[in-house]
Symmetry: D2
Subunit: 144 residues, 4 copies
């Protein structure tokens, strides 16, 4: 069914990410794309904060949702478009770190529905600690 | 315990909202603040889209989370700061509308934890239809 | 598509409920079936408690999940079988009441996915107060 | 703060589990208690089924919730009672297996709130596959 190389999958994921106005507006970057797992990075700046100056839960959620969507895309066929059905996120610590990384992993890939587990880490140089965890359900839309 | 007028509560909610860099960056506005319920509005523009040009789930979630946080603040005491513990959101239809409104309502207000129900509507002139629903838990932090 | 009367829908829902070993084992009853909404009742007894003698969150969740599934069935076609994809439940107060009622309502009915909102009430005679709220996603399986 | 040995923690967890009428009524057993992780096992029987004869999502959720609660108890102090604030569960495959095991792990332990990740496996002899995943928030009640 899938006749692409994984480099083609990567190019497809990157091209879709680049069409997301929100990711650009927040300053998020795709930093890793592997089969079934994708990492999105976000750097602290005043435009993405909540009232106390930490990164807003909405920004944290945005990269978690996006990482999950593209992790799902890596296990789908060309022409399939993963749409978020729902997700739940626990914000376990304030997002004080200068950099966040959302690491999404596919835990169930079905014909119609895909489930991802996403961890968001606060990154301080070489150190990282988990600040949020999400569980997400995606629907495989087919555009062809 | 609460000796403020509701106008003072409103001013406190608005001032906190105005300190959220993310809300300004997304172009979101606080359009209604009543006891136990708050509405946040977001207007479509290219900076908040996903890959198909609709409003990104992360932007939808950001206003849902913010509306819930400030609905919680309206039932808390001065000096209390509502922090999102977790939320779950169902994205029931693509966010095609030119304007979204997130309407949050407190459904349980406890000493430590508050629970909000949030509905996000797509607004087309006089018409509106629900596009997302969220259930959120907040923690009452006290800064004094 | 649906040529049944609503009495036929009711009979179909009741027959399916009666095949659920768990509902019988817990002592749960279907007490209302209307288009898009279903109520399931559960009466306190020692067999359904947690460590403090209140009704266990698992029992509360079981009737919430079941009520949502059958609310979804009322808006589906004959031969469609609603399967729970996921749900989230907030347990807002201890389940101290002698009787619980889970009232589920369909908030989005799609071709593949249905979303229900479920409220669980503690019932004391004529009085009732909300003790839990759930949001649930169901998949329409077709057995024909 | 904690002056107990882990054997004392185990005894405390087991004693609390044994007071849960629901776990006994479902036939669930505590099969592993380690610091920060607990496993609960459930064996298929007609009393815990849904309409198709598989284990009911409510029974699956019940052992997931219980495993998470006791995983949280292993990292709390004597006298602390973990209460479920909320959880979200994805039911990824039908529970066809003869035995289920819910394995809960604490992913964040705070002063007031604890977050657990729970995986439920279908067990067929030596083989197991994940059938559900849950994310749960617990509140530390103190009874002393």
């Amino acid at each position: 069914m899938v006749s692409e190389s994984f480099d083609q999958v990567r190019a497809r994921v990157q091209a879709s990410f680049d069409r997301q106005g929100l990711m650009k507006h927040l300053g998020a970057e795709l930093v890793n794309i592997e089969p079934g797992t994708v990492t999105v990075r976000l750097t602290h700046r005043p435009e993405i904060t909540q009232q106390d100056g930490f990164i807003h839960a909405g920004a944290t959620s945005s990269i978690a949702d996006t990482a999950g969507g593209y992790a799902a895309m890596t296990v789908m066929d060309p022409g399939d478009n993963p749409l978020t059905v729902e997700y739940k996120i626990n914000l376990m610590s304030p997002a004080r770190a200068p950099v966040l990384e959302a690491v999404a992993t596919v835990i169930r890939s079905g014909r119609t529905l895909t489930v991802c587990s996403v961890e968001v880490f606060g990154v301080y140089g070489d150190q990282r600690s988990i600040i949020a965890a999400s569980q997400q359900t995606l629907y495989r839309a087919n555009e062809t």
